[in-house]
Amino acid sequence: MGLDMIRKASRNAALAAAALTASAAAHAAYDVDILPPGSPIAQQIYDLHWAIMWVCVVIFVIVFGAMFYSIFKHRKSVGAKAAHFHENTTVEVIWTVIPFVILIGMAYPATKTVLEMKDTANPDLTIKVTAYQWAWEYDYLQDGVKFNSLLATPRAQIEEWEKKGEAKNPDYLLEVDNPMVVPTGKKVRLLVTSNDVIHGWYVPQLGINQYGIPGFVKDTWFKADKPGTYRGQCSQICGKEHGYMPIVVVAKAPEEYAAWVKEQKAKAPQAAAPAQVAAGSPSTGAVATTAAAPAEDPNRKWTTDELKALGEKVYAANCVACHQATGKGMPPAFPALDGSKVVTGAKGAQVALVLNGKQGTAMASFARLSDSELAAVITYTRTAWGNKAGEVTPAEIKAARKG
């Protein structure tokens, strides 16, 4: 079929429409098209969409052409007299059968694409994607690389309540600290799951939208054609920060990818065995398993100031959403940490709480952070604002994980 022709025609029409609206307001981004596809499946989706769209447009024009013709010709004000027919089996059969045939024409190519999308066999590379409220964890099962990926846009650009925010980054809300990196031209299989609630790993240009369902692993795959950066967002409402959970995939030539893997491994020694996800069991009251910590140099000695400095960063990335930069939280839903009994009380209780989370509340387990990060963020909360409690060391976290 002339899918190519349809593709060209649709591009042109889309461009024309865009140009029209754009002339109305210069420089504005009046996109009316799907983003350029970056994978073979995305390309098929793109073509399917426009093919079906054009069929619908044609039907629309014919059907409503007839209706408006009738509206203009058969109006009382131009002296139309009403006819009295009210049945005609032949036309009724025709307009039942023709749509049916058109639908079969649409279903055929769609079926091919569905079967292809679902074929996850023989991947070149498998990455386990775990969603957290609100971060993505990528675990390269063969290459032994594992890291978290969080929103990188500073909150000052987001919150404009007091004053008009700072100028926004060009990739406002679509930028992360650690993007997922993949080699081009390779079949990447994703094993998507979640640690807490349902999230959606959605990168339109790669033709992927897959829910991460807590306790289940669902697989899907993509192949990035060309080097480039592909952006997406979490597609399923997952709590208050659902809008702040971007995904960035950077596709690199295979050699560059290999170099990237090396570099990552140099940063952190070999990751431990795949972490067990704590598919929390809020209502049954079962305690979440503590995930194996991301590996790091266990012998490093931290000074209190180093801990506080790291802690502030970890806090800004993981905790501000609920407990706020001021530590005042948003009571009653999200308690203040400034002056909190737990935070100013015994170490053990706070460590246990942050490590395991609290079942049935939005306070999730943060066991996915490393020992030093946890020590840092806990130390930070215990010493920031008006709090004056003591520091917590990575060794104490390590001990807490075991027991």
Partner: protein, 530 residues
């Protein structure tokens, strides 16, 4: 006024002479018209409440960045907007029309179970109180989306329990209302009113009521499981205990998809009454309309999976749901074609009800087409949970269900009140609505194609322009609705007396056999239908 109707008019006087007045009349009423009126005012109120929520969230979406409300509250607004519009505005409005019209259109005196009818209405009110009050409890209103997916719903506070119990009460109300409607239609028809002579509004409601009875209990079951998962330690939706969050989605959408047809089938009935009236020509293909409605209803039970193409169902599941969903285009198309054939070679005039009906046909078809695009599994992968879906369902719900509600209100208000509404104001309402609506929702297709997720309070910069337009359109549309409110109140208070049949082409019993306003009890002695 004919002699026959006058006699009836007389007959009921002594019987409701000692009916209570004032507040008691409305609290205790067993009269289908009073109850219909209660439903209609209630739903209009809820529509404005849901609308204000929509405008608030649109205001936040006017620009990127957070200016007005925090994300948690935004999610609550989205959720309660969806719930209030679906369960508070559209559904009760259709029940209101059913109450007013069904007895008149089949030549009955009243509904089959007048006391239960009253209860159906007075259950909706406590449910609405629970829903709206949940904004004021600690933690704020439900913020999970109207689909209430676990486990997110397990995390949240008191408001979720209020929402769940509200849904239970609404379910009880809908089931009783539907039993009442089905029984009335099956058992209280006037002599000679065979099934295949019933006006299409009655037919569509018969089928709608059947859908309601079939799916409301399923929803009740689903939210009951949520409740026990939350508070009593069951593991229906918890993988750790062998359950599955996806299971909730299956059960919810088994309800949810028929639910959307529950909101649109009565609309088809109303349009099938209005188009022939203003084309002055009988409805084309009456029988095929009935069969098409029934086919849509039956198919609606086997398409729910199209809301779940991204959960990772096996390929066979995806394909089955894709094919079944696409099939619905066939009977729906039959309806569209029948309406156009009804207009063909008619002698048309374009009063407000007709304008809204024509607006409905065009815009609903756009919504149907976007539905078809979403039904194509691979395409849905890029569009799922984006603004394309939001555009789709507002085209079918707002310019579908809501526009026909307006059409129905303008069409029947002369019969309800005996007064005529202001035609030019009605037309103004129509044009502002159409324009505002399209500015608000057409650009959302583009946002979705470009990948903007729904249920987010803040968005990337490339989405800014279309969102700005969408918000502008939403405000135009929203404020135009004040015209409707004004027009209705002004009509009721005016003294522009309406004729018994102000519409040349209207030929159902309420127009041909009853005066305007219709008497308190429609037909105390049943008319004989030839």
């Amino acid at each position: 006024m004919s002699a026959a109707t006058h006699a009836q008019d007389h007959g009921h006087h002594d019987d409701h002479a000692h009916h209570p007045t004032g507040l008691k009349r409305w609290l205790f009423t067993t009269n289908h018209k009073d109850i219909g009126t209660l439903y209609l005012w209630f739903s209009l109120t809820m529509f404005f409440m849901g609308g204000v929520m929509a405008l608030l969230l649109r205001a936040e979406l006017f620009q990127p960045g957070l200016q007005l409300i925090n994300p948690e509250f935004f999610n609550s607004l989205t959720t309660v907007h969806g719930l209030v519009m679906v369960f508070g505005a559209i559904m009760p409005a259709w029940v209101g029309f059913a109450n007013w019209l069904i007895p008149m259109q089949i030549g009955a005196a009243d509904m089959a179970f007048p006391r239960m009818n009253n209860w159906s209405f007075w259950l909706v009110v406590p449910a609405a109180i629970l829903l709206v009050a949940s904004f004021f409890v600690p933690g704020g209103a439900a913020a999970s989306g109207w689909t209430l997916y676990p486990p997110l719903i397990i995390q949240q506070g008191i408001s979720i329990d209020m929402t769940i119990l509200a849904v239970h009460i609404l379910g009880a109300s809908s089931i009783m209302g539907s039993i009442n409607i089905i029984t009335t239609i099956l058992n209280l028809r006037a002599p000679g009113m065979t099934l295949m002579k019933m006006p299409l509004f009655v037919w569509t409601w018969l089928i709608t009521a059947y859908l309601l009875i079939a799916v409301m209990p399923v929803l009740a079951g689903a939210v009951t499981m949520l409740l026990t998962d939350r508070h009593f330690g069951t593991s229906f939706f918890n993988a750790a205990g062998g359950g599955d969050p996806t299971m909730f989605m299956h059960i919810f959408w088994f309800f949810g998809h028929p639910e959307v047809y529950i909101m649109i089938l009565p609309a088809f009935g109303v349009v099938s009454a209005i188009i022939p009236a203003f084309a002055r020509k009988p409805l084309f293909g009456y029988a095929s309309m009935v069969y098409a409605t029934a086919s849509i209803a039956i198919l609606s039970f086997i398409v729910w999976g199209h809301h779940m193409f991204t959960v990772g169902m096996p390929a066979a599941g995806n394909l089955f749901f894709m094919y079944a969903t696409m099939l619905i285009a066939v009977p729906t198309g039959v309806k569209i074609f029948n309406w156009i054939a009804t207009m063909w070679q008619g002698s048309m005039t374009f009063e407000t009800p007709m304008l809204f009906s024509i607006g409905f046909i065009c815009l609903f078809t756009i919504g149907g087409f976007s539905g078809l695009v979403l039904a194509i599994t691979p395409v849905d992968i890029t569009l799922h949970n984006t603004y394309y879906v939001v555009a789709h369902f507002h085209y079918v719900l707002v310019s579908g269900a809501l526009f026909t509600l307006f059409a129905g209100a303008y069409f029947w208000i002369p019969k309800f009140t005996g007064k005529m509404y202001n035609e030019s104001l009605g037309k103004l309402h129509f044009w502002l609505s159409v324009i505002g609506f399209n500015i608000a929702f057409f650009p959302q297709h583009f946002l979705g194609l470009a990948g903007m997720p729904r249920r987010i309070p803040d968005y990337a910069l490339q989405f800014a322009e279309w969102n700005m337009w969408s918000t502008i359109g939403a405000f135009i549309f929203g404020f135009s609705q004040l015209l409707f409110l004004y027009n209705m109140i002004e009509c009721i208070r005016s003294n522009r007396k309406a004729a018994d049949n102000p519409w040349e082409g209207a030929d159902t019993l309420e127009w041909t056999h009853l005066p305007s306003p219709a008497p308190y009890h429609s037909f105390e002695t049943a008319p004989v239908v030839k």
